[in-house]
């Protein structure tokens, strides 16, 4: 099996999503609050997995713009859940060492006294291993 | 036990029931047998103790044809059989007054004997009122003690629970006896190689003497006339013992009760050769649970049985080879 195919299968496994169920209706993209910030749009996620181009997905800005707000997950009529795919892609990044979106040095300047723990914890979960 | 007898007398006397179906003391301390009691006086022979393993549900088929109600004592596991018989229209609920009797696990005399206890004169600790921790056995060689759990029937170690699925009233506390997993033995066999499996069953089944005890006791084997006794499936006269049904007896029987067997364990209990016949039934139950969703025959009286049901997405038969 090619490395690309393996990656695509891995992402399906981590996310539990079957991209073939997608009927390309675009309801995910219509629901996404971060749509305008994304380079690869939610409805396109499945195509990248089907075409075994996980690399582009992993390197996309979208990875760090998704809020995991589940609007797309809730509304998807085909039970595809693009939000889970992007979560899985993010996992693939943070599971690789040194591949983090947030470095310890930049944290102090981001902090503000009122910032709740919850924010840091959840950001860490998403950004870092 | 007296509590139960008193209640039975009451119900007989006030005319609620015409007879009582229970167990009567046998000639030995460990062999009570199912019996009908028609009068209050006859109840003096009534017993209910750890050796009353017999499932009385099946007797209700005949009792349903009699005038008046029959008081029947059912242990929690027996009630599944009764429900299943209701589902199959074999017993009449209206003809039964069900006393759900508590159960602390039923005893297997073979297990006691296998612990070297011989020459039994009396057994203490098997009464329903006892703690069910230990049996004190008077033998001609003196007193022996056996842990209650070590003398229990296999089925009680994988007990389905203390709940009576159907009853008019309940008497006696039950005790949780489950300390094993129901399908462990089946899983163990499944893991064997084909040759080992075959050797295992060949060894067990070669003991069979075709006495029909399993069939006669089985509440699911309630056919008016068993296929093995009719000529519906055989073109030739079946004089010789090597007939087809003869050879395939146990597998055909297991298939016939598949989806209907409540796993009451009576077949194994009564087998004079000690063949673990429940291993066939349990295999079907395990497959049904795994392939078609959990199903307990006798849990209710109206659900669709797995073999009279289907879904579009059911597994293909080839799954058998794929599961390994």
């Amino acid at each position: 099996m090619s490395a690309k195919k393996k990656q695509a299968e891995l992402i399906e496994e981590i996310s539990g999503v079957n991209p073939l169920k997608c009927m390309k209706c675009g309801k995910c993209s219509a629901s996404c609050p971060s749509y305008n910030e994304m380079d690869i749009k939610p409805h396109q996620f499945v195509s990248y997995v089907i075409n075994e181009d996980v690399e582009s997905l992993v390197n996309s800005a979208s990875l760090w713009k998704c809020l995991s707000c589940f609007a797309c997950v809730e509304r998807c009529p085909r039970d595809v859940k693009p939000g889970k795919l992007i979560d899985a892609a993010r996992q693939m990044v943070v599971r690789q060492k040194e591949q983090t979106y947030l470095s310890p040095d930049e944290i102090p300047e981001l902090l503000d006294p009122e910032l709740p723990q919850q924010l840091l914890v959840s950001a860490f979960r998403r950004y870092r291993r | 036990m007296q509590e139960l007898i008193n209640r039975a007398k009451e119900l007989l006397n006030d005319g609620t029931v015409a007879r009582v179906l229970g167990w009567k003391a046998g000639d030995l301390p460990y062999n009570p047998e199912p019996a009908f009691f028609e009068s209050a006086e006859s109840l003096k022979d009534f017993v209910y103790n750890g050796f009353c393993g017999a499932n009385l549900s099946k007797y209700m088929i005949e009792a349903s044809k009699l005038e008046g109600k029959t008081l029947v004592c059912l242990k929690p596991c027996d009630t599944y059989s009764f429900n299943q018989l209701i589902k199959e229209h074999r017993v009449d609920r209206e003809k039964a007054y069900i006393i759900g009797v508590g159960c602390k696990g039923k005893l297997d005399i073979e297990k006691i004997r296998n612990q070297g206890v011989k020459g039994i004169e009396s057994i203490e600790g098997a009464e329903i009122g006892d703690g069910a921790d230990e049996l004190k056995i008077q033998t001609i060689y003196g007193e022996k003690t056996v842990a209650y759990a070590d003398a229990m029937l296999e089925r009680c170690h994988v007990c389905k629970g203390k709940e009576h699925k159907i009853y008019d009233e309940e008497i006696f506390e039950s005790k949780e006896t489950k300390d094993g997993e129901r399908f462990d033995e089946v899983s163990r066999i499944e893991k064997m190689s084909p040759a080992e499996k075959f050797a295992f069953f060949q060894k067990e089944l070669s003991k069979c003497i075709r006495c029909n005890a399993c069939r006669n006791v089985c509440p699911a084997c309630s056919c008016r006339k068993c296929v093995f006794d009719s000529n519906k499936f055989d073109s030739s006269q079946k004089a010789n013992v090597d007939s087809f049904e003869e050879k395939m007896f146990h597998i055909i029987r297991a298939f016939h009760v598949a989806g209907r067997c409540t796993d009451c364990g009576e077949c194994s209990r009564v087998c004079p050769q000690g063949i673990p016949l429940h291993l066939f039934n349990r295999k079907f139950i395990k497959d049904i649970d795994e392939l078609y969703g959990e199903y307990q025959a006798g849990d209710d009286t109206d659900s669709k049985a797995p073999l009279t049901n289907y879904t579009f997405e059911d597994a293909e038969p080839s799954i058998v080879g794929k599961r390994g």
């Binding site: 496994e13 981590i14 996310s15 539990g16 609050p33 971060s34 910030e37 760090w64 713009k65 809020l67 995991s68 707000c69 589940f70 609007a71 997950v73 809730e74 979560d87 899985a88 993010r90 996992q91 947030l102 981001l110 503000d112 009122e114 910032l115 709740p116 723990q117 919850q118 924010l119 840091l120 914890v121 959840s122 950001a123 860490f124 979960r125 998403r126 | -």
Partner: protein, 263 residues
């Protein structure tokens, strides 16, 4: 009535109000929140990969602690509630996760999702009852027009959280009515505030929060209530509007007349 209580880390620090008012209100309403011993942080987000086990264990511990006490588990923080319910759902329905988690846990009896997880609002709705709550209100917030802000974590995924209709929830509105105020229904009440994104992408969060507050004000809300410390932070910090945002427990305590007592 006694419930196991999982406060979560934010409630220990920045969102102390949320916690204190909840406890005080519970007392006033006649139920007790018994804090679980040695709880650990839930992680703030539900573990993103379906194959992750270790990150779910802190929740399983808390859930099992409640099970051992034969109590239901109550959370107040939206995020803890979200993570807890989803992990519990996994333990109940995903055999693989359940087995693997139990392998780590080495419990006497494996945990299989037996505990019922409740958000504080669900306790008010399903256990106390809003009618009952109404009777206990001493300072009705009459005349106040309050917008409920749900955010994402309380509602979605709807099938797992089973909290309320994720597209048109009403539990907080019913709550607002119960304490004598008037709920303001506005369409952005279940849209995301930006969540953790405000750490690095301030502007994104600002845009989102502005939409929410603008919509709420447009429909006439004087104030917003929330159950989530992160939403609270974002709405206060990122929105360029001035509408006050408070925890729902605070106005609950106020209505029940226990706000000052505890503070």
């Amino acid at each position: 009535m006694k419930y196991s209580y999982y406060p979560g880390c934010t409630l220990r620090t920045k969102a102390k109000d949320l916690d204190d008012y909840a406890r005080a209100s519970a007392k006033a309403l006649g139920f007790e929140l018994e804090e679980i011993e040695d709880w650990q942080c839930c992680g703030g987000v539900y573990p993103l990969g379906t194959d992750e086990i270790a990150t779910k264990l802190s929740c399983v511990r808390a859930l099992n602690a409640a099970k051992e006490k034969e109590q239901e588990l109550v959370t107040v923080c939206s995020a803890c509630h979200h993570v807890m319910k989803r992990v519990n759902d996994d333990m109940k329905n995903v055999e693989d996760i359940c087995t693997r988690a139990n392998n780590y846990m080495e419990l006497d009896e494996p945990y299989k999702g037996e505990t019922n997880v409740l958000h504080f609002l669900e306790v008010l709705r399903d256990k106390v009852g809003f009618d009952e709550l109404k009777k206990k209100v001493v300072n009705p917030l009459t005349g106040k027009k309050i917008g409920a802000y749900y955010g994402c974590l309380l509602l979605r995924p709807g099938k797992v959280l089973n909290f309320d209709n994720p597209e048109n929830p009403k539990i907080m509105e019913d709550f607002i009515r119960a304490i004598g105020a008037e709920p303001v229904i506005y369409p952005y009440r279940n849209e995301c505030c930006g969540g953790y994104i405000s750490l690095k992408e301030k502007e994104m969060a600002e845009n989102m929060c502005d939409k929410i507050t603008e919509s709420a004000e447009g429909f006439g809300a004087d104030m917003l209530i929330t159950a989530c410390p992160l939403c609270m932070y974002n709405l206060n910090k990122s929105s360029r509007r001035e509408i006050p945002v408070v925890y729902f427990t605070e106005i609950l305590a106020e209505a029940l007349g226990v706000k000052e007592v505890q503070a």
